[in-house]
Subunit: 255 residues, 2 copies
DNA sequence: AAGTGGTCTAGACCACTAC
DNA sequence: TAGTGGTCTAGACCACTTT
């Protein structure tokens, strides 16, 4: 029977969280199962509702529990994870037609859709360094919200030096078959190399609502830069991915 | 002056959080600065302390604020980020002497130290698949807690088929110069290739306390598998990194 | 000793979901 | 309509840090 040890040094809400966490891990409550309501837990643990809510808040930020207003508390079920492999950027993949996101989504059985916004801007310090241009240089910026079966799953912002995009479909919403990389190669910038840097953090308010993230879901922030055959950076790209829906994979030689 | 709009649809605590967030982003409170105390904020916003604490809790899980018991509320300062590049696993690096962590830490100006635990176990389904052995096979497991200037920064667990480690220093706490990869190569398993998969999630209770993570800090979970010249997996490794202290970088060709 | 954040109580009413 | 989680009040005492 669940109770609180009033002489235990731990605060009550931690004892409750530890107890519920143990039950979940041991399988007493499985993925998708409903927990007793907050009021029932309050009676079970002989405490106040706020204390129970503190415990539940802890398990929510740990990503273990999901609260649904008017319905109840549920053990969070694992989401099918989409794997993003390095090979999504191989030339063969790029030339196959659509962009990387479309290809991935369709292979995984999702119906992809994209909202695009294109505008011009000037380079701040960070983008200037990534693209090896001067701060204040003119850029084309492409912001995209990618959806799988109409569920937002990925934010992406691309920056390109304005003169590389000038007069191409990169300046339009629809960049045509193969996406911006195909347009760059048509212009003589053969893509030679990518760098990617990966970080994780909690989402901003805007990202959380755009991606409809549950409390306790971090994001993966990936910055990719594309270099042409002369070693010149031709595009850089910030991707924000819901961490519970994506896995990134890389492969490299040991030499 | 800060106040709450009682007719605004948003809950009070969100209005307060939005207001404080705006002030932080606009620079009214810079990194490391102290905010007014909870009781002062309660008066400023003309509400109850719990409502202020809810707002602060939001900003803490977003990673914007840090609360220090008995001291006050502070804007979280950016931590110096350690970059983990693919090249940390190059043969030249590995043969230079110490393991990857020691090399990285010393280059970054930290004094590295490591707690190690070595024991034998049997393969569960996941490890069996990664190492391409049968479930239940005998393994050597090496658990490590890495510290930089005595601050825990990284957890690492390695699994190797028992027969590859048998009779080598891989079974000991101190594996000798070059670490386990050097011992494997001495035994004729030349390392050819690594795969890494990267995910992000909120830490478990154990990880949070082992790595001394602040509320609102996710972890990067990296699984690396090493393959020998015959394509056989010889080791697999789970790394858990504090996301606010690490950045992973990768580089690959566009072909 | 004074000020800070951390924990806790015993209520109340609102918003949402299901029957 | 009943049950659920979400928000809010007005207190109280504890644990920690600083002076």
């Amino acid at each position: 029977m669940p109770t609180i040890d009033r002489s235990d040094g731990r605060p009550y809400y931690r004892q409750i969280a530890d107890d519920l966490r143990r039950r979940i891990i041991q399988g007493q409550y499985g993925p998708g199962d409903q927990l007793p309501s907050e009021r029932v837990l309050t009676e079970d643990y002989e405490t106040s509702r706020l204390t129970v809510r503190q415990a539940i808040g802890l398990l929510r930020t740990e990503g273990l529990l999901l609260a649904e207003h008017g319905r109840g508390l549920f053990v969070r079920a694992a989401v099918p994870v989409q794997r993003l492999a390095r090979t999504r950027l191989d030339r063969a993949q790029r030339q196959a037609g659509a962009g990387a996101f479309q290809t991935d989504a369709q292979r995984a059985g999702f119906q992809p859709s994209v909202d695009v916004d294109v505008y011009s801007a000037t380079a701040d310090a960070r983008i200037a360094e990534l693209l090896q241009v001067s701060t204040g240089s003119r850029l084309i910026v492409r912001e995209r919200l990618m959806m799988a079966d109409k569920v937002p799953v990925q934010l992406s912002t691309s920056w390109l030096p304005a003169e590389l995009a000038a007069g191409t479909r990169i300046e339009l919403r629809d960049t045509g078959p193969g996406g911006i990389y195909a347009r760059l190669e048509e212009k003589g910038h053969l893509l030679a190399r990518f760098t990617e840097s990966v970080r994780a953090r909690m989402p901003s308010q805007d990202e959380a609502s755009a991606l409809r993230l549950a409390v306790g879901t971090p994001v993966l922030a990936v910055t990719r830069t594309a270099f042409d055959q002369h070693g010149r950076p031709v595009e850089t790209n910030d991707m924000v991915l819901a961490a519970d829906r994506y896995e990134l994979t890389y492969e490299f030689s040991a030499d």
